[in-house]
């Protein structure tokens, strides 16, 4: 039986800028699943990371705005100082609630709300980081029947976050960053009907 998915969520902290460039950089423009990312970042960081990733990846990358519709072929980054959540009906919302797992944005908040909405049709990924955020969220993704992927701690710039996630739940795949894009393409082989990037960009 082939499974079908509706979204990928990624949590990453220390070493995230490099890791995200590498992973997203290896995904084609017509990768079908929307990707939602929490990268731990300072409260006044600005939206530079989304711009950088957008320039360097085939996929369209943007900082999430409230009420953004979750679209195929698009990567959404949690804004600095806000939690990113998934609403029923395929929309995003933001919250300025207190830090969770010592972070805002918090990986756990994104993962838990995405698991509520997408259930078994969700892929959760924990990448490099020097804390425990994402462990609880990944466990909930698994409880709801989703797929859990963790970056091989040996391969991670900071191994604590992947290790903690592996201790928290029964992870489906432990892989190096280099093979993660291929794994995602295997899990979600369908192509997006209409890649968003490129349209109206050259005028």
């Amino acid at each position: 039986m082939t499974r079908s998915f509706r979204a990928v969520v990624i949590g990453v902290s220390t070493g995230g800028v490099n890791a995200l460039q590498k992973l997203l950089g290896q995904l084609p423009a017509d990768f079908r699943l929307p990707i939602l990312i929490v990268q731990h970042i300072g409260p006044e960081a600005g939206s530079g990371l989304a711009k950088l990733l957008d320039e360097r990846c085939a996929l369209r990358v943007k900082e999430a705005d409230e009420q953004d519709e979750i679209l195929s072929g698009t990567v959404y980054l949690a804004p600095p100082n806000y939690h990113l959540l998934v609403e029923r009906g395929g929309f995003l919302s933001l919250s300025a609630d207190p830090h969770v797992s010592f972070a805002r944005p918090s990986v756990d908040v994104l993962f838990e709300s995405a698991a509520e909405v997408f259930g078994p049709e969700l892929v959760g990924i924990v990448l490099t980081g020097a804390n425990f955020d994402g462990s609880r969220g990944l466990r909930i993704i698994k409880q709801k029947g989703g797929v859990a992927i963790v970056q091989d701690p040996e391969d991670a710039e900071a191994r604590q976050m992947p290790q903690s996630a592996m201790a928290a739940t029964d992870v489906d795949y432990v892989v190096a960053l280099d093979s993660m894009a291929a794994l995602l393409r295997k899990l979600a082989p369908e192509r997006a009907v209409m890649p968003h990037k490129g349209r109206g960009r050259d005028d």
């Binding site: 006044e44 806000y82 959540l85 933001l94 300025a96 838990e112 509520e116 259930g119 709801k144």
Partner: protein
């Protein structure tokens, strides 16, 4: 039916009951955040499920009030987003100064940190005694705290940094007295602020405001309630008045949007047109 779906049904029923009995309407709050807050309240309560809690919640007002406190607390800090406060100081205050007296509505003030920040800023710009700030919130417990103006001393280091980045011209320590583990804000900051209850979902406008601040409150609302709030702010504001939203909130595609120009677009400071 899966556990998660049962819980969603329970929450919907509970909010329906709360609205009918107490008149507080949370059905127009964004689901994901309200669910997180409700679940958090449930975990701290003596109940195992929302159905179990519902019986008492609908009969015992004190139980409802504990729920209300739990789900309407917004967190805030002094000079949150220093760049925003700097822009208010440099780009908005010069306009405010042209009036003999200005009125400001701070909607959703929570425990008051941003209202006090604004008071500090206005006083430093020479406007002490020339403004009145109406700081409102749905949650009367936080309003009481706001009126007291007492802040955990552990926060003051961060707030001092924010204050400096926001272009503060004095020494932040002059604005509070440290006592044990608390910082008491100076009474001079309180005299031009009126704290009052107001529910954005049902209550009306405040007349003839020169400035309305409502930052990171409407992010918890569904689109219809957001539009209601914006139209409330619009009818409260005088022409030439200023509307300040959170950094991730915008008037783009909003009904009142065309009557406003962006004064500082990325900092979400809007000005109501005269025509």
């Amino acid at each position: 039916m899966k556990h998660g779906e049962v819980e969603d049904v329970e929450i919907r029923l509970l909010l329906e009951g709360v609205q009918r009995i107490y008149g507080y309407d949370f059905r127009d709050y964004a689901d994901a955040s309200i669910k997180r807050r409700l679940t958090h309240w449930l975990a701290e309560s003596e109940f195992d499920t929302f159905s179990q809690a519902q019986s008492l919640l609908l009969r015992d007002r004190s139980v409802f009030e504990s729920l209300l406190r739990g789900i309407t607390v917004n967190v805030t800090e002094m000079f949150r987003d220093p760049a925003f406060f700097r822009a208010v100081r440099e780009q908005v205050v010069p306009f405010l100064k042209t009036y003999p007296f200005v009125k400001i509505w701070h909607a959703g003030c929570a425990t008051g940190e941003e209202a006090y920040s604004m008071a500090i800023l206005l006083n430093e710009e020479g406007m002490a005694g020339r403004y009145r700030m109406y700081a409102t919130d749905i949650n009367e417990t936080v309003l009481q705290k706001a009126g007291e103006g007492v802040i955990p001393i552990t926060e003051m280091q961060r707030f001092t940094r924010n204050y400096q980045k926001a272009g503060g011209t004095a020494s932040f320590a002059d604005y509070y007295t440290a006592r044990y583990d608390r910082a008491m804000l100076s009474t001079a900051l309180k005299k031009d602020i009126v704290f009052a209850p107001h529910n954005l979902a049902v209550d009306g406008e405040f007349g003839e405001m020169n400035m309305v601040l409502c930052r990171n409150v409407m992010i918890y609302f569904k689109p219809d309630l957001k539009e209601r709030c914006l139209s409330l702010f619009d009818s409260s504001l005088l022409p030439g008045g200023f509307l300040c939203l959170g950094l991730k909130e915008t008037l783009e595609k909003k009904k009142i949007g065309e009557r406003y120009e962006e004064l500082a677009p990325t900092l979400r400071i809007y000005r109501k047109r005269y025509d």
